[in-house]
């Protein structure tokens, strides 16, 4: 009865007999005993569905199921879905509909769908939603999943190809062979079969498991650490503390390097890393952590900016006088003459807004696998990162190694949204532990640990004042923002600048003042999250603009049109806007939604609201000073001429960048999409790319790829010109042929030219790099943040139903019109926009990280930190407006982040239209709406709901 039990399972049709401990879950058996790593570990508590498998046909959370309890069962995992290499029609449907992005939730979602169609082959949309309601997808491919599952049988017996599924997905505007076409994602087949390997799926012989001990208190001095009991535990190979790691301070922002790999003498938040262990398995590692004795002297702690700024507040970073008073970053900007402009305004309104501490919640927990090759003193690290280069650089600087002796490999990444944009203690500790033990060390955050590490959205306290003329023309804007930074800087310096720099990009504002103050608190550090620093100021601005419009009797659409940014404008803060179709997005959204018939005319409880937004297409400057090009590509033609390797270190984290870059390469080379192989991101194979942040990949990496491809094409065209006896300038390449522009029949096969070129001179290689224009920005302090070669613009109109009794908000429909320049791939474009709509909905209505009075997280899980499910998904219509950005490859610019920005304001404005309650503090929960409704019933007015927010210490400092 005790010890191990024999469990017999039939897994994917194969009988298996395994000895397991009673506490062993089915998930552990599948992943660790049977190496079926397609089944994912994401939350471990049954709250996300990533580990779903079929047990005797039923969908089951394998993390909640003890293996012993399913003795004798038939188990089907994602690996069992395809037969003899032929994908199941469901898998093909997911590929063709683009029903996956990062792919981490995909195996679980597919298994839930499979369980549904086994019982009900023709499910309704509601049936699908119910069946998938337990499968969280943070990329929010929900609308596509529903369509894919409903249409699964169409794909029965149909061979899978990469062609666009429907004509409607095709770009209507330009005549390209590959660009603009909704070809399927290059990573889709691997992601729907479970073949895609994420960091924690990698298996190296002898791999140890590492775990980190976090501080139990929010602020304290480490008096003594005794690791002797942990070291003595059998199965433990190494234990490290602050004494065993380099003294280097690090941080992703060189301006504020304030982190240590493990705490040396002080802990600053609950979870601050104190020690790490490497052991033979996770259980032993966890047990070892519990045997580490830490003697801490607890210090007073502060949990909001007001307390942190109060006289006599505990100092969180006494090591550096620069951070005296707990002020991490201070921004003081003044453009134009704000006071004079307010004086000239016909109407001025000011409002306090408070944001929420949202967490990116990628489904894949952070993970790192390090392998130290002692004889060569070289480190190889596989890491779940959005920014392989910054990780590479951080490892080099902290560990004192040259970058040349570190190899960074980025396997598939299960979503990031900013949470994985910097090196984590996992990366550093795995490397150090591997060096100490001589064995590979795999480290993975639990769901709770990843939320504690955080780097989520800064909670912002925003005082916004807008002055307008009688006709709604904006004369002046004054914004004061206090950002709760948590215990470390992370990206926070930049966040504080972004919170101010992006407001003037959307509406013309000649006079603008911005005071930003990022404050240290004893909380997990905030960082960069989709839309970096901007969503809350944008929410505030779009809300206040609507309030002003109502006050002065102008339609919300009109006031936006009156102030909308125009192409080829330099903003008051010296940002250069080139292409800009904001007006078109507003007008078309108004027409498409029947705005005029609806606004202010819907029955009680029904509302419509508008919001606008936009973002940079890649930061104009890197995080640290560097002369290097931001993106670099190498293309090598295979000697046979029927394949092409694209080497680029851009970080595919689910957004579809590998697909888009492959298309750009194929288009420029003149070969079919299927010919291009994108080499995995590996610093040994590919040159520097700054990574996936600031929505930079399509424009920057895209330009680098296009240039590399153009060089290759030029070489082959020269060869072809000689063969054909014509002028190279008369030739073009497309679809695998090189031919005369004037007469397509005259030409030769691309592969023939390639073979000839190889025979003559060996490998045909082209390189390309991209560097943004050098002169971006105004030269004042912080003016680099917000610079970009191009900006996106979009408008969202949300339609909602508010339950006037309970305050529950249903977002019924969202309509998005986006100016993203040329759309390279409509499939991934619409997928990104839909995902942004749904993530924005979550941020607006339900998401917040809650902290208790001792600084502990109340909801570091997916149980009480709620993100939208498929059932919360509205009808979504997304449209790309006609636009061409000269700085982008084939006219493209960003979509991933900008699309999120209008959503918060649009929903808030729709709620106001529905029920008259203006909630200024995110998230807009039913409770707040009900309180607003009660206030209306009491006062017959339209109250503005807000809590106290930050107090007078903040006021004193920012005024």
């Amino acid at each position: 009865m005790s010890g191990e039990i024999l469990v017999r399972l039939v897994v994917n049709g194969e009988p298996r007999a395994l000895a397991v401990k009673p506490a062993t879950t089915l998930l552990t058996v599948l992943r660790d005993h049977l190496d079926l790593t397609g089944t994912k570990h994401a939350c471990g508590t049954g709250d996300c569905g990533a580990c779903t498998v079929q047990v005797n046909g039923d969908p089951v959370a394998s993390c909640l199921t003890l293996a012993a309890a399913v003795d004798g069962a038939q188990v089907t995992t994602i690996e069992g879905l395809a037969t003899r290499g032929e994908l199941h029609p469901l898998q093909k449907a997911f590929v063709k509909h683009g029903a996956l992005q990062c792919g981490f939730c995909t195996p679980g979602a597919l298994m839930s769908a499979k369980a549904l169609i086994d019982r009900n082959p023709c499910p309704s949309a509601d049936d699908v939603r119910t069946a998938l309601s337990g499968n969280l997808c943070r990329c929010a491919t929900y609308p596509r999943m529903v369509r894919a599952v409903q249409s699964w049988s169409e794909f029965d017996g149909v061979p899978l190809d990469t062609k666009p599924h429907t004509e409607s997905e095709r770009d209507q505007q330009r005549d390209h062979a590959v660009v603009g076409h909704a070809v399927t994602r290059s990573d889709a087949p691997d992601k729907v079969t479970g073949r895609a390997k994420y960091t924690a799926d990698l298996r190296l012989p002898g791999t140890l498991v590492g775990k980190i001990l976090g501080s139990p208190i929010a602020h304290g001095i480490i008096k003594r650490i005794d690791v002797s009991r942990a070291r003595a535990l059998p199965g433990v190979l190494a234990v490290i503390t602050g004494a065993d790691v380099p003294d280097t301070w690090y941080g992703v922002s060189p301006a504020r390097e304030d982190e240590q790999i493990l705490a040396k003498d002080r802990v600053r938040y609950v979870g601050d890393e104190i020690a790490a262990v490497a052991a033979v398995d996770e259980e032993t590692a966890k047990q070892a952590l519990s045997l580490i004795d830490v003697d801490l002297e607890e210090l007073p702690a502060v949990f909001d900016p007001d307390a942190a700024l109060a006289p006599g507040a505990p100092v969180i970073h006494p090591e550096n006088p620069r951070y005296a008073g707990n002020i991490n970053t201070r921004v003081d900007w003044h453009f134009g003459d704000v006071d004079a402009a307010f004086a000239e305004a016909d109407y001025v309104r000011e409002q306090r807004f408070v944001g929420n501490r949202t967490y990116q919640s990628p489904l894949e927990p952070h993970a790192a696998l390090a392998q130290w090759e002692g004889h060569a003193d070289r480190l190889t690290i596989w890491s779940s990162t959005q920014t392989p280069h910054y990780l590479h650089r951080s490892l080099s600087r902290t560990l004192g190694l040259s970058m040349g002796s570190i190899r960074v490999i980025r396997p598939a990444v299960g979503g990031g949204f900013g949470a994985k944009a910097e090196a984590t203690p996992l990366d550093f500790c795995a490397a150090i532990l591997s060096r100490m033990t001589g064995r590979p060390v795999l480290m993975e955050y639990s769901r709770e640990e990843m939320v504690r590490h955080f780097r989520g959205r800064h909670k912002q306290y925003i005082d916004l004042r807008i002055g307008v003329k009688r006709d709604g023309t904006i004369t002046a804007v004054d914004q004061r923002v206090v950002l709760d930074g948590g215990a470390y800087t992370s990206f926070g310096v930049i966040t504080a600048y972004y919170a101010g720099s992006m407001l003037p990009t959307l509406y013309k504002m000649p006079n603008y003042r911005y005071h930003g103050l990022r404050v240290y608190t004893n909380l997990p550090a905030s960082g960069a999250f989709r839309g970096h620093g901007v969503p809350q100021p944008r929410f505030a601005f779009e809300s206040l603009l609507d309030m002003i419009a109502e006050d002065i009797g102008i339609d919300p659409v009109e006031i936006r049109l009156r102030n909308a940014m125009e192409p080829n404008t330099t903003t008051c803060n010296a940002l250069d806007i080139a292409s800009c179709e904001l007006t078109q997005t507003i007008v078309r959204a108004r027409e498409a939604t029947g705005w005029r018939e609806k606004k202010g005319r819907l029955p009680p409880g029904k509302g419509i609201g508008i919001g606008c937004g936009g973002f940079v297409s890649g930061a104009g400057h890197p995080i640290y000073r560097s002369d290097f090009p931001h993106s670099n590509a190498v293309i090598r033609v295979h000697e046979d001429g029927t394949g092409v390797s694209l080497h680029i270190a851009a970080a595919e984290i689910g957004q579809g960048s590998d697909t888009v870059l492959t298309q750009i390469a194929a288009e420029e080379l003149g070969v079919p999409y299927d010919w291009v192989w994108l080499a995995e991101c590996d610093t040994v194979i590919s040159a520097l790319d700054l990574g996936s942040y600031s929505s930079r990949v399509t424009l920057m990496a895209g330009n680098a790829v296009r240039r590399a491809a153009a060089l290759v094409k030029t070489k082959l065209i020269e060869v072809a010109a000689r063969e054909l006896g014509c002028d190279a300038a008369a030739l073009t390449a497309r679809g695998g042929r090189i031919f005369l522009k004037e007469s397509a029949e005259t030409g030769l096969e691309w592969a023939v030219a390639a073979r000839r070129a190889f025979a003559e001179g060996g490998p045909v290689v082209g390189t390309g790099s991209y560097q943004p224009p050098k002169n971006l920005g105004g030269g004042f302090k912080g003016s680099t943040v917000g610079t970009s070669p191009a900006y996106s613009f979009s408008t969202v109109i949300a339609e909602v139903t508010v339950d006037l009794e309970t305050g529950f908000v249903s977002v019924d429909r969202v309509t998005d019109f986006s100016d993203a320049g040329t759309v390279i791939n409509p499939l991934t474009f619409h997928g990104q926009v839909e995902g942004a709509m749904i993530m924005g909905l979550g941020e607006t209505l339900m998401e917040d990280t809650v902290i208790d009075p001792t600084g502990r997280l109340v909801n570091p899980n997916l149980h009480d930190y709620l993100i939208p499910t498929v059932c919360d998904t509205p009808d979504i219509r997304t449209v790309a407006v006609e636009s061409y950005e000269p700085a982008g490859p084939f006219g493209a610019k960003e979509i991933g982040e900008g699309a999120l920005l209008p959503v918060l304001g649009a929903i808030a404005n729709a709620i106001y239209d529905a029920c008259g309650v203006r909630v200024t503090e995110l998230p807009i929960t039913p409770d707040k709406i009900v309180q607003g409704l009660r206030a209306i019933a009491g006062s017959m007015g339209h109250p503005v709901w807000s809590s106290d927010g930050a107090g007078h210490h903040v006021e004193a400092l920012v005024r």
């Binding site: 009865m1 005790s2 039990i5 401990k21 009673p22 506490a23 879950t25 471990g44 508590t45 049954g46 709250d47 569905g49 779903t52 047990v55 039923d58 969908p59 089951v60 959370a61 993390c63 909640l64 199921t65 003890l66 012993a68 309890a69 839930s112 369980a115 939603r129 119910t130 069946a131 309601s133 337990g134 499968n135 969280l136 009794e805 309970t806 529950f808 249903s810 339900m846 809650v850 109340v858 909801n859 009480d864 709620l866 939208p868 499910t869 498929v870 059932c871 919360d872 929960t925 039913p926 409770d927 009900v930």
Partner: protein, 291 residues
């Protein structure tokens, strides 16, 4: 997780015996969807797991004269999909359809939903509203009790060491009776109840002959609001009457404030959900012409 010993008794008698032997250190395992996360959160510390899945007498849904017998190991998915349960006690089927996620419903059992005795559990209020009784079995024999008498506190029940919840007994619905389950959650998919309300009404012509309202997630245990019957009995159904019933329930509720809602907001929800539940139950009662 801690080191466990796993027991898989082949008979109910054996299960009871093991439960008694490991009083204090044992836990019965049904679906495990509460138990496993409780281990992970350190809330469960039992070292001896007694798996009940090999006991056929705990499985199955069957009509036995004027009683519907639902085995304690019936999964929530089976409860949700059962036409018989939908016919006899629709509120229970509705509650089952809302519980957790499909993955949880596949494994979670109706017995587990009772025995883990979490305040926001969905099934108990619905079962209690339908007048369900529970059959408990131990080595000393068996006993039956009202489902409402099962709970003694948050995560506490009347179960004695070695006692197993064997089945739920649902009485046949009478003519002109109807039930409803209403729930408020913070999102539409996979969510816990902030407040739930189960109601049952019986009509006599155009007047209410009896009404039961049970509140979930508003007290440590499901709360039967006895005052509602007194208020409604003999009255004609009306929105105003149901609103008053809601206000009575809101006063009786003893909610706490937690991450899902403040006590004040929960009280308000009770006041709004009770009328909806009573109205729907009454509409269904009007439709039910056969018993």
């Amino acid at each position: 997780m801690i080191e466990l010993r796993y027991h898989r008794p082949g008979s109910l008698e054996q299960a009871c015996e093991l439960g008694r032997r490991f009083a204090g250190s044992g836990a019965f395992l049904a679906g495990g969807t509460e138990l496993v996360p409780d281990y992970l959160r350190g809330r469960e510390t039992a070292t001896d797991l007694i798996a009940l899945d090999a006991l056929p007498e705990l499985h199955g849904i069957r009509i036995d004269g004027s009683v519907l017998r639902i085995g304690a190991l019936t999964t929530v998915a089976e409860v949700a999909a059962s036409p018989v349960i939908a016919d006899w006690l629709l509120a229970l089927a509705e509650a089952a359809r809302l519980l957790g996620s499909p993955q949880v419903r596949s494994r979670a059992t109706i017995g587990g939903n009772f025995c883990r005795a979490v305040a926001c559990a969905d099934l108990p209020p619905a079962a209690i509203a339908g007048g369900a009784r529970l059959r408990l079995v131990s080595s000393r024999g068996e006993r039956e009790l009202e489902a409402s008498a099962f709970f003694t506190g948050s995560r506490r029940t009347v179960l004695e060491p070695g006692e197993v919840l064997a089945e739920l007994l649902v009485p046949a619905p009478v003519r002109h009776s109807g039930t409803s389950f209403q729930r408020f959650a913070l999102r539409r998919g996979m969510a816990l109840a902030v407040v739930s309300v189960a109601a049952r009404t019986v009509l006599d012509g155009s007047r209410i002959a009896g009404a039961t309202v049970v509140l979930g997630a508003t007290a440590p245990v499901p709360l039967v609001v006895a005052e509602v019957d007194g208020l409604l009995r003999g009255q004609r159904a009306s929105a105003d009457l149901f609103t008053r019933a809601g206000l009575v329930c809101a006063e009786v509720a003893q909610p706490i404030s937690d991450i899902r809602g403040t006590a004040e907001f929960r009280r308000l929800l009770v006041g709004k959900l009770v009328p909806r539940a009573l109205a729907q139950a009454t509409a269904r009662a009007e439709g039910r012409v056969v018993s």
